[in-house]
């Protein structure tokens, strides 16, 4: 969801995940590491949203290809990177998790 457009009351009774929460549990550690490795962020303003969106993609569409990654994050703006490094990082994690799952 868009944090800026969703009131807290609209999430009444729901489970809310945040970037801080996912960082605490360590469940997207590989994704965060890939973002750092690929230099997939400059100012970091969009990064929380990118990571949350990518995290959802990893769960929902573990077999996503590069085009699907681009489509999935098309609602998230990044003004620094030009998206290439972000897509690279997400694709790398998708591949790594697929390999991990089949191993």
């Amino acid at each position: 969801v868009r944090g800026c457009l969703t009131l807290a009351v609209q999430a009444d009774g729901r489970h809310v995940d945040t970037i801080e929460g996912l960082s605490e549990t360590g469940e997207i550690k590989d994704l965060q590491a890939a973002f750092i490795r690929h230099n997939a962020l400059q100012c970091g303003f969009c990064t929380s949203g990118m990571l949350m969106a990518a995290s959802e993609l990893l769960t929902q569409q573990p077999n996503a290809n590069r085009e699907q990654v681009r489509e999935w994050i098309s609602g998230n703006y990044c003004r620094c990177t030009g998206y290439q490094a972000i897509v690279d990082a997400v694709c790398e994690v998708l591949e790594a998790r697929r390999q991990g799952a089949s191993a």
Binding site: T18, I19, E20, S23, Q32, F35, I36, N39, L41, C43, G44, F45, T47, S48, L51, R70, I73, S74, R79, G82, Y83, Q84
Partner: protein, 241 residues
Amino acid sequence: MNAPENKFLQASHDVPHAAPFTGDMAGAKHIGQAIPRPNLERLVEGRGQYVDDIELPRMAHVVYWRSPVAHARIVHIESAYARMMPGVLAVYTGHDLAAICKPWVATLTHLAGIKSAPQYPMALDRMHWQGEPVVAVVGKTRAEAEDALQYIQVEWEDLPAALDMNTALNPTTAVIHPELGDNLCFTRSLDTGGVDEAFAHRGHAGTSLSNCRLQPCQFTTHGLPLATGAAHDARPVCASI
């Protein structure tokens, strides 16, 4: 939206003058190296801090009433109601700020003859462009300042605007800064000779080139929290953009 991936950029033979650099790289320490960025870790964990996150003690918030039109004369500013709104600390107009802030004249010494009208922090008697700040409302919170802003009333009289670069120099187009004489900021002629002859022989009737704006204005957020020192010392001791 996302930039398309450029799959059509081929090897350098497609691009003239794109031969790879072959100079001495022995002394190049950083080219081609991945430079570690120690601040990335906090940014990927949602622990970045941006201007909006900064809350200083007794911090006030300023919001602006901005010109909705490209060119107009300010007839009257009614701010009495806004001043009565809860949490409002001050309301300022362009004249208030002009008394303590000198205008900026944006000329460049390497462009001989360039003209630029003095730019004040906020509009004085005329609004020169849509979005120009006209009234500043300072509140204890952003919400209170925004609420009070709704009670600012500005009466203005529309003036003819200059909206098209191609007609800006026509005699019938309004001169936006009369003290400058016309709407021409800067001109430079470059004639290496033989132009008329070349056109005559080639039979070209002329061409039109479109270029992007060369003065980029980032549309990312801009903000500036300021803190002052002791009461007698108004110099900012904390500034961040």
